[in-house]
Symmetry: C2
Subunit: 361 residues, 2 copies
């Protein structure tokens, strides 16, 4: 079939020009007689690709020079474990602000290593809001404070960077990195699986203030040491080269399209369309998140008549709108609107929602 609009929460839709370039180069990258996926990571060709991707990502996100940018195998969950190993002494307290499913996952990874202090928890409110900053109970001696910038399943998003005092702020930006301008200098560390806004699955980005790399952390293998990866330009071992290459193409595309300011505009427009349709549906559709923290990236929503949910999923799929089924943890429906989703895709979804309501409302 023709390319559909794919609302998957991740792995997620990629820009078609990026896929077309990867397709064209699949058997022969840049005339070298081999695919990029077949080239040594130590060769001049891939080293150039890797360095360009880093330079472009630094430009896209306005990363200050005193921050290292790492490209690492695996997803955000692995980074969650490495935060404690690299930056907290054994048993030291670490503060976690839990605003959804992924905040809880982050805690589970570090429980063997640190004393977790939940400084705030949106769980009692069903994760429909972010606890106000003045209610947080931050520790005096925390190794770091961890937040989840955007919660993919519950659909809540920090719209401002919280002030947390002396401890460095660590943030899981997996599902909202590069979706709008962010002041990186407000964070000690930002990490993100790439498979939502930065391109392909199978690679993560860690942006970390270099001085933090001097922390001793706790006993760990060299492969788990961010400072070792930083010292070797993320080539401590064989990195996921093809994924890195595709990330580079995606970042280049974002720069060419106008950078994060332009994507902030598009993302606001897309989210405005879908929330607008939900709020104007007279209760046929509903989203339960407090408007001030509604995610622009992931919009979970529900039909007032839940027996229609499966029909919505089937009919939208037939109409070329993929992966609108909600996460099993909350049910219902979900539309993910990452950078590679065009405004026309959000409009197509809204048109379908109107049509579905007319037929079933």
């Amino acid at each position: 079939m023709a390319r559909a609009y794919n609302f998957s929460a991740g792995p997620a839709t990629l820009p078609e020009p990026v896929l077309r370039q990867a397709q064209a180069e699949m058997l022969d990258w840049n005339g070298v007689g081999a695919s990029i996926v077949e080239l040594s990571h130590r060769g001049a060709e891939f080293m150039d690709v890797a360095a360009q991707a880093e330079a472009d990502l630094r430009r896209l996100l306005s990363v200050p020079d005193d921050y290292a940018v790492l490209f690492l195998a695996g997803g955000a969950t692995t980074q969650q474990a490495l935060l404690a190993l690299n930056f907290a002494a054994p048993g030291q307290v670490a503060d976690y602000v839990v605003t959804g499913h992924w905040g809880r996952t982050a805690i589970r990874q570090v429980e063997p290593y640190v004393r977790v202090h939940v400084a705030a928890d949106g769980g009692p409110g069903g994760f429909r809001d972010i606890p106000p900053r003045d209610t947080w109970s931050l520790s005096a001696d925390a190794a770091y404070v961890h937040i989840t910038a955007n919660e993919t399943i519950h659909g809540v998003e920090f719209r401002d960077t919280p002030e947390v005092g002396a401890a460095p702020l660590f943030a899981d930006f997996s599902s909202s990195i590069a979706s709008e301008p962010v002041d990186v200098s407000r964070y000690g560390l930002i990490y993100a699986g790439a498979q939502k806004n930065l391109g392909p699955v199978g690679i993560s980005v860690v942006i970390v203030r270099r001085e933090l790399l001097q922390r001793e952390g706790q006993p760990r293998a060299d492969i788990f040491t961010y400072a070792s990866h930083a010292a070797r330009d993320s080539m401590l071992n064989t990195p996921p080269t093809w994924n890195w290459y595709l990330l580079g193409l995606t970042v280049k595309w974002m720069l060419d399209e106008g950078g994060v300011e332009e994507f902030a505009r598009r993302n606001a427009a897309k989210a405005g369309l879908v929330y607008g349709a939900i709020d104007a549906s007279g209760g046929f559709y509903r989203n339960e998140v407090a408007p001030a923290v509604r995610s622009r990236m992931n919009i979970p929503f529900f039909l007032s008549d839940e027996t229609l949910t499966a029909r919505f999923v089937a009919e939208s799929k037939a109409a070329g709108l993929l992966a609108l089924k909600g996460h099993k943890a909350v049910g219902g429906l979900r539309a993910s609107l990452y950078n590679a989703m065009p405004v026309a895709g959000a409009q197509a979804l809204v048109d379908f929602m109107h049509d579905f309501q007319q037929r079933h409302g």
Copy 2:
């Protein structure tokens, strides 16, 4: 240019039919309207791809039912660290047989976790031979015995599975998995980065006897726990889906070509060609590894006149023979002859070697 013969040690050459299929499906996999790299790992489409890859790999390698097969992000180095975390008590002794560079790397990853006992070390002999089994000093109470089945840099390979008594035998098969029949039941665990014989970079395979997953190991994050990955069919978190898909295509290709028996035949033929050319060169080329343990996968070799090495690399590249420069740790030249390298590629190399010798000998 046309497709060259690529002798890279990894990431390495892939079968052209696999690349062509990935190319054809890049924008639309199986008519679903999206690329496989854009599909959710939790969706029926990718779950089928993943399950088929596992079934095919089990068939290719004749994996017994009481072994789990895991598909994990990252490379072999991460697995090296996880061996100790999952299977050894804190500070327990683990035996390592060191036959080259990668055996040393494996030790470095576990030193924070176990008491490493080097049961045998080929280092004093320059890694030109594998210490005979009857000289190994195995511990009575080792958590496991670790070997490197094939050393990519030094070019030595176990041609038989050593008998090690009661402790389970763990083996790094990164550069020789699926290159010939192996009796998996002789091993407690086999691990391999995929980027040599199994397909793309960015994913590793771990084949482990299920009963070993019950070992307590030592404190670690859930994401570092093999039993958790096994319980969730390697979908504990978002796996590197595209890499898994390409691995599946590669395994399918190997089955279609005749399986490991056929590749054992081809690999013996390829290695025979190149070693034959070296040995018949009257000293113009030399390989210093004891013939009985010469690697079929990676052939490091040297010119008697080392000032000609750079010229050999440049001229061979111009002739469409890529990545023949040796690893910096040993210098010289190296030809890697993984499953996807056709016999015609080895013949082309040998023809070039003859020609080069005639011009410079």
